[in-house]
Amino acid sequence: MSIKGRRSYLMGCGFILAALLVGIVLTNTSEGKSETVKEAIKDAVLHETNKVSFWGIKDVNPAFISAIMVTIVLLFVAALIRIFVIPRFTYVPGKFQLLLEQLVGMFDGLAKSNSPHRNGFLGAYIFGAGIYIFVGTIFELFGIQWITTEDMSIALPAPLSDINAAIALGCLSYLIILSGGIAGNGLRGVGNTLKDFSLPVSMSFRLFGSLLSGLLVTELVYYYISLSFVLPVIVGIMFTLLHALIQAYVLTMLTALFYGEVSEPHEKKNGGN
């Protein structure tokens, strides 16, 4: 590109940015805000006001709609992969096949390394949980708009930023660990699992706290116009992408670790040894 062309390109970009800035400032009237930052954050935690109608059956937290959307998208993509990609797998994998194999192999390896005795079901569970947490957290970045029961527009949050979803996943993980204990050691396994009675609470609230922190920071950043430039890029990466990776790893790893611990066959102690 010539110097003249480059100059006109830069000028064009600068003009567009200036026009956008003017538009943002002119349209951002404080009267337009329907709730204060305190209310917005309180509602993000408690979901008292912003409810969404679930096909007219029940008013639910917006995170449940997110959860359904994530499920639909994931199952649709999985079905496409099953129909169009997996039948074309070759012994020498291509890039996408390698990615899929890495993904499955990673969770399978995590299950096998942490629970050497019973890991078939565990691998399948942590694969589902890991994908759900990761994609569910990333889902927040798309900012899909939805209408609440009070006719307000909200951006759909991460499914696990809802305490109900976090409790569901935490308790289900605990039940899976319990099932591993029963399958591996019977009543002794139940005892071993119940010994860690704080596990479902810690798992649920760890997930909820981590994902909620991301949501709160994002709410704060987008609430103030002055913070809406550049900063969301950093915030988005730090509080969404990293959380997505870390929380997916933490929950799956903890589940695999406890599952392996309780399903490990009990060795009878020999008298002299």
Partner: protein, 159 residues
């Protein structure tokens, strides 16, 4: 009942229901087929490796068998060589013995011949000597008779 943080049991169950469908779907559509394929590939390469190991083992067995055969052949060769050497030695000894016997016979024959020759020579010499002696004696007698006659005639003449 008002639960803190607006925890709603119905929504928890809804989330559970949703997640179970998702996990089941992902298992059937993605996890199981990909894992099955990976296991199939592992089995394929394992089979190849097993076959290669089997071939290697059979090659090693054949090698060991041939080594044993080579050792046996070498032992046989050395035994045969030893036997041949022993035979050659025996044959040589036999030849030497025969030659010795022959030589002894030759020497014995020669000695006998020499003794016979000597005996013959001695007897011929004795005979010759006897002949010579008799002829000499005859000659002496003849001479002495001749001289006696001459002396007699001489003496007769002078008288």
């Amino acid at each position: 009942m008002n639960i803190p943080l607006n925890i709603d049991w119905q929504q928890i169950l809804l989330h559970l229901f949703n997640f179970i469908i998702l996990a089941g779907g992902l298992y059937l559509l993605l996890y199981k087929p990909v894992k099955d394929y990976m296991e199939k590939r592992v089995a394929y390469y394992q089979d190849l490796e097993d076959k290669a190991q089997e071939k290697l083992k059979s090659a090693e067995d054949i090698e060991a068998e041939y080594r044993i055969k080579i050792t046996e052949v070498e032992t046989e060769i050395s035994e045969k060589r030893l036997k041949a050497a022993r035979k050659a030695e025996e044959a040589a000894q036999q030849t030497i013995d025969e030659a010795k016997k022959q030589a002894e016979k030759i020497v014995a024959d020669a000695k006998k011949h020499a003794v016979d020759e000597r005996q013959k020579m001695i007897s011929s010499a004795e005979k010759e000597i006897a002949e010579l002696a008799s002829s000499a004696a005859q000659k002496l007698m003849q001479e002495s008779m001749d001289s006696t006659y001459e002396q007699f005639f001489e003496s007769a003449k002078r008288r």
